[in-house]
């Protein structure tokens, strides 16, 4: 069936099977491979994107469910060449190693900061608790989000 989804501000119309998952629509139909695909069972969180402004696990959403709706992916974080503070935080605080979990982590972090601009370490850990990172031990992810929250003042001073 034909669907039209607004992704990162651009309308995309495509013919899809109802059983196509949103994660595969984004990656395979639109070429937006920043969204990763891992466990396929809504556990790991590498596939997190925003659907109508809310983070969801896109391996457990059908592309047809997004018809007429709005999606934001990691490709929609930066404003042109200017990185989102969350992205900059991950760069500065070594928030990633292999990078597999990173897009999902950043999408959740951006949402958290939009709703709670000054989250505590516990609040950050709770927000990303449905997302796995096998590399960093989470410590630097939390620091990266804190950096974004304070736009650098706090962390770079230390």
């Amino acid at each position: 069936m034909q669907i039209t989804v607004t992704v990162n501000g651009d309308e995309h119309t495509a013919d899809v099977e109802p059983r196509l998952l949103l994660v595969h629509f984004l990656r395979d139909k639109l070429g937006l491979t920043g969204t990763h695909w891992g466990c396929d069972t809504s556990n790991c969180g590498v596939c997190v994107v925003w659907l109508d402004g809310t983070p969801v696990k896109s391996c457990t959403v059908l592309a047809v469910m997004a018809d007429g709706h709005t999606v934001r992916t990691v490709e929609g974080l930066a404003d042109g060449a200017a990185l989102d503070p969350v992205q900059e935080g991950f760069v500065r605080c070594h928030g990633l190693q292999c990078g597999f979990c990173t897009p999902g982590m950043m999408m959740t972090a951006r949402w958290l900061l939009d709703h709670n601009p000054d989250p505590s370490e516990d609040e950050i850990r709770e927000a990303i608790s449905g997302q796995s990172c096998r590399c960093t031990g989470y410590e630097n992810i939390v620091r990266s989000v804190r950096w974004a929250a304070s736009r650098g003042t706090e962390v770079s001073a230390s």
């Binding site: 109802p18 998952l21 069972t41 457990t60 047809v64 449905g130 997302q131």
Partner: protein
């Protein structure tokens, strides 16, 4: 990682109103399934544990997404997301049991999508909200082609993954009367953060002075029929709200559970937890009813 898993072929229909959803369900008959958050149904379709011919998507039904007080009844629309139940101050004020439960259901991103109605209709024997709604003696409001009917949550589940909701029907709302003097709480043990319960218990009590005027107990994952512990409730009614009474209620509740051993633990451990978690939930519910927690 295994091979890519996608559901088998099906037809997709988007409902634009409750009436439209009912019409679509009527059109497809018993081959249709409602999809709400899809966080139970889509995984089951990937595994071919469910193979509906048609999905009726009710995610656009904003009319079913609400938490409100209708007089002295707390009403929760079926499309209320877990996250919205958790964020609702009304729920926190009148039935903190749901905030306790929601904090330990899955993780924040899953809670953004999964719904109250989907949880109850999925009828997984480990579903947390089934036990919480059973504890507070809520009623499910079901709409079908012949009108609306109301079913106590304690009679809603007819077996594992089975409910009274017939093909062609839709769960639209869950309602709980708000009564003065009450307190409620939920206690869960899981293997790791975000996992399904090894065992969990919910309790609601209403005090008249130091006497327990009424009580409700819900249990999940421990083989309690209808997620409910009626004998322990019966024992509590009219008893003094002392710790030894609560402990005895826990013992009675556990005695009647028939948990099965699985990867989450052996049966005797789950039975033990059923009793212990009932006592802990009762203690917190009583403390909250007294306004000291």
């Amino acid at each position: 990682m295994g091979p890519m898993q996608v559901p088998a072929h099906f037809e997709y229909e988007r409902a634009t109103s409750v009436d439209h959803a009912l019409a679509l369900l009527a059109k497809w008959g018993s081959e249709a399934r409602v999809v709400a958050g899809g966080h139970s149904l889509i995984p089951m379709m990937k595994l071919r544990l469910a193979r509906p011919e048609a999905l009726v998507d009710i995610n656009d039904l904003e009319e079913l997404a609400y938490v409100r007080l209708d007089g002295d009844v707390l009403a929760v629309g079926a499309m209320t997301r877990h996250a919205d139940l958790l964020a609702s101050p009304l729920v926190g004020e009148h039935y903190p049991i749901f905030h306790d439960a929601e904090r330990v259901i899955a993780d924040p991103v899953v809670r953004n999508r999964g719904t109250v109605g989907g949880s109850l209709c999925q009828a997984d024997p480990s579903e947390d909200l089934s036990a919480a709604f059973a504890a507070v003696d809520a009623a499910a409001v079901v709409r079908g082609p012949d009108g609306v009917r109301r079913v106590p949550v304690r009679e809603f589940h007819t077996g594992p993954y089975e409910t009274v909701v017939a093909p062609g029907e839709l769960l639209v709302e869950v309602v709980v009367p708000v009564r003065p003097g009450g307190g409620s709480a939920y206690e869960k043990v899981e293997r790791r953060v975000g996992d399904w319960a090894v065992a969990a218990a919910g309790a609601a009590v209403w005090l008249a002075g130091d006497t327990i005027a009424d009580a409700g107990i819900g249990l999940t994952a421990v083989g309690a029929a209808h997620f409910h512990a009626p004998a322990a409730e019966e024992f509590l009614r009219g008893s003094a709200a002392t710790d030894s009474v609560l402990v005895e209620a826990g013992r009675i509740a556990a005695e009647r559970c028939e948990p099965v051993a699985d990867q989450r633990g052996p049966a005797d451990y789950k039975k033990h937890l059923a009793g212990e978690l009932t006592v802990r939930a009762l203690r917190r519910a009583v403390a909250r009813a007294r306004g000291v927690a």
